[in-house]
Structure formats: C-alpha cells, structure tokens
C-alpha cells in the first residue's frame, strides 16, 4: 500500500490529537477521584486513660500481660535490655510538673500506665533514616521491622521512652509465642503499634479489652462524637509533656 505525504500527515495529526484528548480526559477525571478519597471521614486513633479508675485497682497490670501475650514481648531480667510496649511508672515521675506540695501519697505514688503516644507530630519518624517508622494516615506511628536497621535514632528522639531496642535475641525470653504475631529479632527497635493488627479485624487494642476497670477508652479523635472526644469534653485531661509540641494522642484523666 502506498501512502501519500498528505495521508501520512493527516493520520499522524489525528493520532496526536487522540493521544492529547486521552491525556486531557485523564487529568480531568483524576482530581475528582482524589477529592472523593479526601471526603471520607478522617481518622486519628487516640486513647483516654482514666487514672481515677486505674487507682482503684493499683498493681493490677492486666493490660501489660495482655499486651505481652498478644505481641510476643520478651521478659528480659537485665533492666538495660528490657523491652516494653506498655508499662507503668509512678504518677510523680510521669507528671512531675503537675505535682503539688500537699498532694496525697495515694495519687503521687500510684502507677500510671504508659505507652507510645502516637504523636500528631512524632519526632521519632523524622529521624529514621530508612523510613522504617512513619506516621500512618490514621495517626498510628507504625513500624516496619523488615526495614529497621537498628540505628536507634528513634530511641534517642522519643521523649517518652516508648521505644525499646532488642539487644539480644528475644525468642528465648518469650514465655509462650503467639503464632499470629511475629517476634522481633536482635538488632531492631520496637514499640506499641496501637494494636494495628487487631484494629484491622475490627477489634479494640488488647490492653483496652483486658482492663477489668475499663480504664482505657479508645476511639477516633477526629470524630467529635467519638467516646474519647466525649470524655475529653466532659473532664479535664492532661497529656505527657505537651510543651514539646509532639501532640500526643494519649490523654490522661487525673
């Protein structure tokens, strides 16, 4: 088949026009889909911890045991090598600037449950050189243990001591392994993941479900009608060291 110069120019012109139209149609349809994604309800998972209820059953530690069992957390005797996701410390240590001279001993000495604050502006994720830890769209400060190189910058950056490093192989120190959750390996950092794996199945975090006093209220802080938001409207709450500007998502009712 012979093609004239005129036909060639006509065909190539039409093809270019068609390709251009397709591109234009795509660019018009794309923003529409991203607008649709953005209009869905935003999520910021958060937790409210009622210390007055926790005080009633001081030394219970059901939350800690539930977390340890669910996440294969090793119990290491050497304090320097300790691994912890949720733990307790005395009220006076956790909220040093909130203490008064004449506060009752029952308050200053009670143990306060502590965990990763899943900050709105987390310093740990900024310093991670491999993006092994990052902030998810739902507010969870997540860890990818596959990618962690064990540099411990995040441990240094976290002002709350929420991160632990595996100085040794954790497996021998795990009482009974839960096969549904991986253990970690020597040389990676770990911390509370707000039970991301349970949230994906529509469950609440293990500590929330395990507490006999219902101390923990878990929910979406971005939703004004959620349980934690209702509690925060009704009662006075504090965060750990809010002056650092990290914006913790864990609140304490004192």
């Amino acid at each position: 088949m012979k093609i004239t110069r005129k036909d060639f120019l006509r065909i190539s012109g039409l093809s270019l026009l068609a390709a251009g139209c397709k591109r234009a149609a795509e660019s018009v349809s794309q923003p529409a889909s991203s607008v649709r994604a953005a209009s869905t309800q935003p999520v910021r998972w958060g937790m409210v911890i009622d210390l007055s209820k926790c005080r009633e059953k001081d030394g219970c530690n059901a939350c800690i045991h539930a977390c340890n069992a669910a996440h294969n957390i090793p119990q290491i005797a050497n304090h320097a090598h300790e691994v912890k996701w949720i733990w307790t410390e005395p009220d006076a240590t956790v909220f040093p600037s909130a203490q008064t001279d004449f506060a009752p001993q029952t308050v200053t000495e009670t143990k306060v449950p502590l965990l990763c604050n899943h900050c709105a502006n987390p310093p740990c994720t900024r310093v991670c050189p491999t993006q092994a830890t990052w902030k998810r769209d739902d507010g969870i400060v997540m860890m990818d243990w596959h990618r962690c190189i064990g540099c411990r910058y995040c441990v240094a950056a976290c002002p709350y001591g929420s991160r632990s490093f595996n100085f040794e192989d954790p497996r021998p120190s795990i009482e009974s392994i839960n096969p549904d959750f991986p253990t970690r390996t020597k040389g990676v950092v770990e911390k509370c993941n707000f039970c991301e794996e349970r949230l994906a199945r529509g469950l609440k975090p293990a500590c929330v479900d395990a507490c006999p006093q219902r101390v923990f209220t878990f929910g979406n802080l971005a939703d004004p009608e959620s349980e934690p938001r209702q509690l925060l409207r009704e009662r006075f709450a504090v965060q750990r060291e809010p002056e650092l500007g990290t914006g913790p998502s864990v609140f304490y009712l004192v």
């Binding site: 069992a69 669910a70 998810r136 997540m142 990818d144 243990w145 596959h146 009974s176 392994i177 839960n178 096969p179 549904d180 991986p182 253990t183 970690r184 390996t185 991301e196 349970r198 994906a200 199945r201 469950l203």
Partner: protein, 138 residues
C-alpha cells in the same frame, strides 16, 4: 619425548583432582539421591493455592514481598486471587494455614540450596509453637 610419562601422569592427576567432588558424591550415594525432586507434602484440606502452582513455584518470593509491602506499609490485607477468591495476605494465617512448613517449604528450600530464608527469624510456624499455646485471635 622422554617426559611423556610425567606429562600424562600429571594430566591424569589434574583430571582426577578436578572431578573428585563428583566421584566423592557417587561414592557416598548422594548423587542419585539429590537428583530426585523433593517429596513435598501437599495440604490435605485444599486443592487450590492463591495462584497456579507454576506461578507459586517461580514467584512466591515476589508475592510474599508484595504482600509484606501491602500489609505493613499500606494496611491492605485483602488479596483477590486469579479465580476471584479472596484471601488474607498473611504468611502465618494463609500460607501456613494449609501448608506444613517442615514438609513443604523446608524440603524444597533444602533441595534448591536456599535453606533458611530469614522470614523465620521473626515469623512463626504455627505447627512448632502450637504446643506452647493455642491461637489467640479469631
């Protein structure tokens, strides 16, 4: 030509040294054993995998890496298989829900000379840890 004896003796020694691993294997009866494909135990309760057997054989490692990226980094746990069936993207729950690690994964990995991928440094085989505890989640 008076060195002929030495030259041929040297050549014979060289060839013998070069081929000694093969002779050694034959002498130990390993060669015939090794050439046989491993006897893999297939799941009794399932006839189908998440992809056709050929694809799984060639590309299960890429699939596992992809699943890992999807679950850990994007929170996407839903896998729609080639036949439209939906699976959870999970090594422990989906793969090891049917397959036995020791009689399936390990046998073929040992045969192919790629034993002990570091998945198992952290991920658990439910069969081996089952004795210590029953599964906790639904």
């Amino acid at each position: 030509m008076r060195d002929r004896v030495w030259i041929f003796a040297g050549l014979a020694f060289f060839v013998a040294a070069l081929t000694c691993p093969a002779w050694y294997a034959v002498a130990n009866g390993k060669a015939s054993n090794k050439s046989k494909p491993p006897n893999l135990e297939l799941p009794a309760n399932q006839k189908e995998c998440v992809a056709p057997a050929g694809t799984m054989r060639a590309a299960h490692m890429q699939m596992l890496i992809q699943w890992r990226e999807d679950v850990v980094r994007h929170g996407d746990r839903r896998f729609v298989a080639f036949n439209g069936k939906v699976y959870e993207k999970s090594l422990t729950r989906t793969c090891l829900g049917c397959h036995n690690k020791e009689q399936f994964c390990d046998r073929c990995h040992a045969y192919s000379g790629v034993s002990d991928p570091y998945c198992w440094n952290c991920h658990n085989d439910p069969q081996t840890v089952a004795g210590s505890r029953t599964r906790s989640t639904p």
